[in-house]
Subunit: 128 residues, 2 copies
DNA sequence: TTTATATATGATTATATGATCATGTTTTGA
DNA sequence: TCAAAACATGATCATATAATCATATATAAA
C-alpha cells in the first residue's frame, strides 16, 4: 500500500532536523494510514455529524422515521432550512426518503449510523 | 427527562396539518433524544473529525505519538497550520502533548477516539 | 549570552457553509 | 381545474473557519 499511496512524499522545506530520527515512525504511520482519498471521504462523512441541525435530524431519525414537518416541529426551524439539510443528508446517503401522498418521510439509510452516534455519545458521557 | 428537557416546545407557525397524527411519534423521539446541550457538544465533537487536516492528524496519532515536525512532513503542510489545528485538538481534549527538549510530542488523549475512527471507516468501506 | 531550532499564536484573508427569502414542484381534495 | 398543503430548491447574505504571514516563546548548543 505504501508504495502506491502518494500520501507521503518527502519532508518539505520545513522538515526539522529531528526528521531522520523519526523517519521510521513516519513510515510506519504512513503504512497504517488509509489512502488520502479515503481520509477525505471520511472527513466529509464526519462533517455531516458536525452541525447541530444535521445531528439533531440524524438522531431523531435514528429513533424512527419522520416527515419533514415533524422535523420542523421538533427542531423549531423553518421548513426550508430543514429541507436543505435533508437534501445534503440524502445526497450523502445518510438518509433515504419515501413519499406518501403529500408527505415525505425520511429515515436513516443505514444501520451503521446509529453506531456512529453511540460511540461519540459514549465518549462525551465518559468525559463529563 | 422529557418534562425538563426544553428541546421541544410546540409546533411552530409552520406546523403542518399532519402534526396531530404524528404527535405521538414526535414525543417518542423527543424522549429518546439527548439534551440539546449534549447534542451541541456532540456536534462540536464530530466537527473536529470533519476536516481533512485534523482527521489526518488524528489518524496519524492513533498509530503512534508524533512531534509537530513529523506531522508537517507527513501532511506536507506548514508548521503554522499544523500547530493551529493541534491547538484546536488540544483544547477539545482530543490530543495531549508532552515536551522533550525543543520537541513537542502529541498523542491521542483518549482511547475512545480510535473507536470513532473505526466505526466511521467501516461504514465507508461497507458502502464502496 | 548569542544563535539556531522547534513550536505557538495573533492578525488577516479567502473560502465554505448554514439560514433565509422567494419561488417552483408535486399531490390531494374541492 | 383550481386551490391549498407539503416539500424542494435557487439566490443571497452573514458568519465561521482554515491557511498563511509575521512574529513571539522556549529550549539547546556554541
Amino acid at each position: 500500500m505504501a508504495e502506491k499511496n502518494p500520501f507521503f512524499t518527502a519532508a518539505g522545506d520545513e522538515g526539522c532536523a529531528v526528521y531522520g530520527i523519526h523517519e521510521r515512525a513516519i513510515r510506519s504511520v504512513q503504512d497504517q494510514m488509509p489512502w488520502q482519498e479515503d481520509l477525505d471521504k471520511l472527513a466529509e462523512f464526519y462533517r455531516l455529524f458536525g452541525d447541530k441541525t444535521r445531528l439533531k435530524i440524524i438522531w431523531a431519525l435514528s429513533v424512527c422515521e419522520m416527515c419533514v414537518c415533524d422535523l420542523c416541529a421538533l427542531l423549531q426551524m423553518r421548513q426550508s432550512a430543514v429541507s436543505h439539510q435533508l437534501r445534503t443528508l440524502k445526497l450523502t446517503r445518510i438518509v433515504r426518503s419515501r413519499r406518501e401522498g403529500k408527505v415525505v418521510f425520511y429515515a436513516l439509510d443505514d444501520d451503521h449510523i446509529r453506531n456512529v452516534l453511540e460511540v461519540g455519545y459514549k465518549h462525551l458521557k465518559e468525559r463529563e
